[in-house]
């Protein structure tokens, strides 16, 4: 990297030194000054669509937008004066004139960027005659609800879906006043390539795209004495849910979450991390089968992310044979609860209901993805809630979450290793698999645990490892927009008869599950890093850091599954993939 050049400006009279190329918005942040924004998101390139961030620059005739205007040497910038505030108010009033203003029944009530600004700017009356487009609500995905009447046309979702995720399910249709965000042509999202990652909802400033809320259904089950309702929490949720209650990102609240779930009335508290350890037992075994015994094609590709699975089935069906057939941890916990746990505790599986707390809107889709998701003879997982929905349940219950003393998870699906918790961040599944694969391949009791090469937020990460003289090349991609690059190269190598990588991990969301579409709002790379650090620490603080050393997992294989890839394991823990049309219409 070249030497960074610094330039100088004043903002509201305060001298300010910034790296050349910084925008006025960034410069203001440096001196702890917030310029309001609606269309700009830290993850996305500024488009200058909304106009709320205008400022005054001495010598410029018009009011430039802070999010798109770079600072120049000697600039004198004013961020707040009477005219600026009035323009911002007008921008808000114009938006509100095409807005349903139904905050009380909106999924973003109290977490809406538009609502916040309307409140900050004391908008008290409608200045313009209202005009509502009255577009139909799209509930077709079963994971997300698109209520485009609440859309302020900031464009974030379209950039997220097209650039960050490379899915192109959403587009800008029409123009001017009539612009709307929608799939290609007059079709519903479920008919478009949407993979339900929910990244659009995590970036939308308003309630136009929200997760399907299923908390009421969960309460109903909890209040029904006929059911034995068990719950699992995903790896990442432990370091994110705190943000909804004022904790800094990355605060590990595993014990408090167990405690609050117990108080909410769940009959048994399990941990998806346990099932992640089981996933690794199976997946690492699959890897060894392919790598050592030539049974199956390389690279092996991870499959625990349902958006990624959906993406691959639609866009890259030729990679189906590369996919690990091992189910995701969510599904493994579900099927084990309704078979293994049910048998041990002598509870009829028809009475068991499994709820999962997930970072992710696509996990709702995964529940019914294929007939293999009913391997117990019942729907293996009944309802998947996102982190945001869990936070809502906690608030409804009135429990002072922050003050609860930590508790433990329940046996026999609750113990976890550091490898299990690693599933929550990009590179973590690979790391977990490598820990156990090393043991399987080399018998080493002291395997290498951390792989700095595949950690961090770079879009595609690679490493070449050496296990007992054998080279293993791995790649890790996160954010679906980065996947095609890797897969195209694998395809080309394949055509030449070469194996570019032996093992590839993909997670659909930037940062991995900690950046999932169902996580608390306000995602930025800073937040991602803190959440990841929280999981690194959780991993390091575990006595057992490899999946194969997890005692409850060992017991599961001893008394129930026999061994990884056994017939029973195949029946319960594995799945198949099928090419799906990109457009259903």
């Amino acid at each position: 990297m070249g030497q960074e050049k610094y330039i100088h400006c004043t903002i509201n009279g305060i001298p300010c030194e910034v790296v050349e190329g910084s925008t006025i918005l960034e410069a203001a942040q440096q001196i702890y000054l917030k310029i309001p924004t609606l269309c700009k998101h830290p993850d996305l390139v500024a488009t200058g669509a909304c106009g709320i961030c205008i400022v005054r620059v001495k010598g410029m005739a018009s009011l430039p937008r802070a999010c798109t205007t770079p600072v120049e040497e000697g600039m004198e910038i004013i961020t707040h004066d009477e005219e600026i505030v009035n323009v911002r108010k007008t921008v808000l009033e114009l938006i509100l004139s095409t807005h349903p203003n139904s905050c009380l029944t909106c999924g973003r009530n109290q977490s809406c960027e538009l609502q916040q600004l309307a409140s900050d700017f004391a908008i008290r009356e409608s200045a313009f005659a209202p005009f509502l487009p009255n577009l139909p609500v799209d509930r077709s995905t079963g994971s997300l609800i698109f209520e485009f009447d609440k859309c302020i046309k900031c464009g974030r979702c379209v950039y997220v879906c097209q650039e960050m995720q490379g899915v192109w399910a959403l587009s800008f249709l029409n123009r001017g006043m009539n612009t709307r965000m929608a799939p290609a042509g007059d079709i519903e999202l479920a008919e478009a390539p949407c993979v339900r990652c929910g990244q659009c909802s995590a970036h939308c400033p308003t309630g136009a795209i929200i997760e399907l809320d299923e908390t009421a259904e969960v309460w109903q089950l909890l209040h029904n004495p006929d059911y034995h309702v068990v719950v699992q929490i995903a790896p990442s949720v432990r370091v994110t849910v705190g943000e909804e209650f004022g904790f800094p990102p990355g605060t590990n609240l595993t014990g408090q979450i167990y405690a609050v779930l117990r108080r909410l009335g769940f009959d048994a508290i399990f941990d998806t991390n346990f099932a992640a350890d089981v996933t690794i037992m199976e997946e690492a075994s699959e890897f060894v089968e392919r790598f050592v015994h030539d049974k199956g094609i390389l690279p092996l590709i991870t499959s625990c992310c349902p958006s990624w699975v959906d993406f691959m089935e639609k866009m890259y069906p030729d990679f189906i044979p590369h996919f690990s057939s091992t189910k995701s941890p969510q599904q493994i916990l579900g099927v084990l609860a309704k078979t293994y746990y049910s048998a041990k505790k002598n509870i009829d599986p028809s009475r068991i209901k499994v709820i999962s707390i997930m970072p992710c809107t696509a996990k709702k889709y995964e529940l019914t993805r294929s007939h293999e998701m009913y391997a117990s003879g019942y729907k293996d997982v009944d309802i998947a809630l996102t982190t945001r929905e869990l936070a809502r349940m906690i608030r409804q219950s009135g429990i002072d979450f922050a003050k609860l003393p930590p508790e433990k998870a329940d046996s026999i699906l609750g113990e976890y290793s550091g490898a299990g918790t690693a599933f929550g961040y990009t590179g973590g599944v690979m790391e977990a698999a490598l820990r156990t694969a090393q043991f399987f391949l080399t018998g080493s009791k002291m395997p290498r645990l951390e792989f700095a090469e595949i950690r961090g937020l770079k879009g595609v990460k690679e490493a070449s490892l050496n296990f007992n003289g054998k080279e293993i090349r791995v790649a890790v991609a996160h954010g679906l927009g980065h996947v095609s690059d890797v897969l195209e190269r694998v395809r080309e190598a394949k055509a030449r008869g070469e194996i570019l990588y032996h093992f590839i991990e993909v997670m659909a969301c930037p940062g991995g599950c900690i950046g999932g579409g169902g996580q608390p709002y306000g995602i930025t790379n800073e937040v991602r890093k803190k959440r990841i650090e929280g999981l690194y620490q959780d991993d390091r603080s575990q006595k057992v850091r490899c999946s194969h050393e997890n005692e409850e997992v060992q017991e599961l294989y001893r008394s129930f599954l026999e061994k990884p890839l056994s017939e029973k394991a195949h029946q319960l823990l594995h799945t198949t993939y099928h090419a799906r049309p990109i457009y259903r219409r």
Binding site: W168, N174, R175, Y583
Partner: protein
């Protein structure tokens, strides 16, 4: 670079197939291709849009962004009856908005299967301001319209054919 992902779009309709097989486009210009499609079919059929997405290696969503951006392109076949109301400044001053509204009301009052046969279009000035307000019904120009005449003309076209 953005990639496309498309299931090879087999264009199945014989007429469409013949057309896309013969489609020659200079410099692979998408807009020119879309114009050729629009001129041939009177709209951009979805199947052909998918074919173009693959041909130009761009996502289908991008094609629809382009089609819907320009008023010229249609995504649905035009109805058997086309009502075109001019809404240029002069016609607008002569209450063309009202004519437009009438046309829509007329359509909504038809039986459902009939409705599908009627397309209503709004165009900017067509350069005959002296005749304002004006509209075309199935290609025939009707100048100096008022509500009464317009209603009569609309009824003429649709009911004639009912008797036939």
């Amino acid at each position: 670079m953005q990639r496309i992902y498309l299931n090879p779009a087999a264009v199945s309709h014989p007429e469409m197939k013949k057309f896309v097989d013969g489609l020659q486009v200079e410099n692979d210009n998408l807009i020119l291709a879309l114009h050729a499609v629009e001129n041939h079919f009177g709209y951009i059929p979805r199947e052909v849009a998918a074919f173009l997405a693959e041909r130009f290696r761009i996502p289908m969503a991008r094609i629809y962004e382009v089609i819907t951006f320009y008023h010229y392109f249609r995504t649905k076949p035009p109805g058997r009856h086309l009502i075109t109301v001019c809404n240029g400044t002069t016609c607008w001053l002569f209450q063309s908005e009202k004519l437009l509204q009438m046309a829509h009301e007329f359509k909504t009052n038809l039986p459902e299967e009939k409705q599908r046969e009627v397309s209503i279009e709004e165009v900017r000035c067509i350069g005959c301001c002296a005749l304002a307000p004006l509209a075309y019904i199935d290609g025939q120009l009707h100048p100096y319209l008022n509500a009464e005449i317009f209603q009569q003309e609309l009824e003429k076209v649709i009911s004639c054919e009912d008797k036939a």
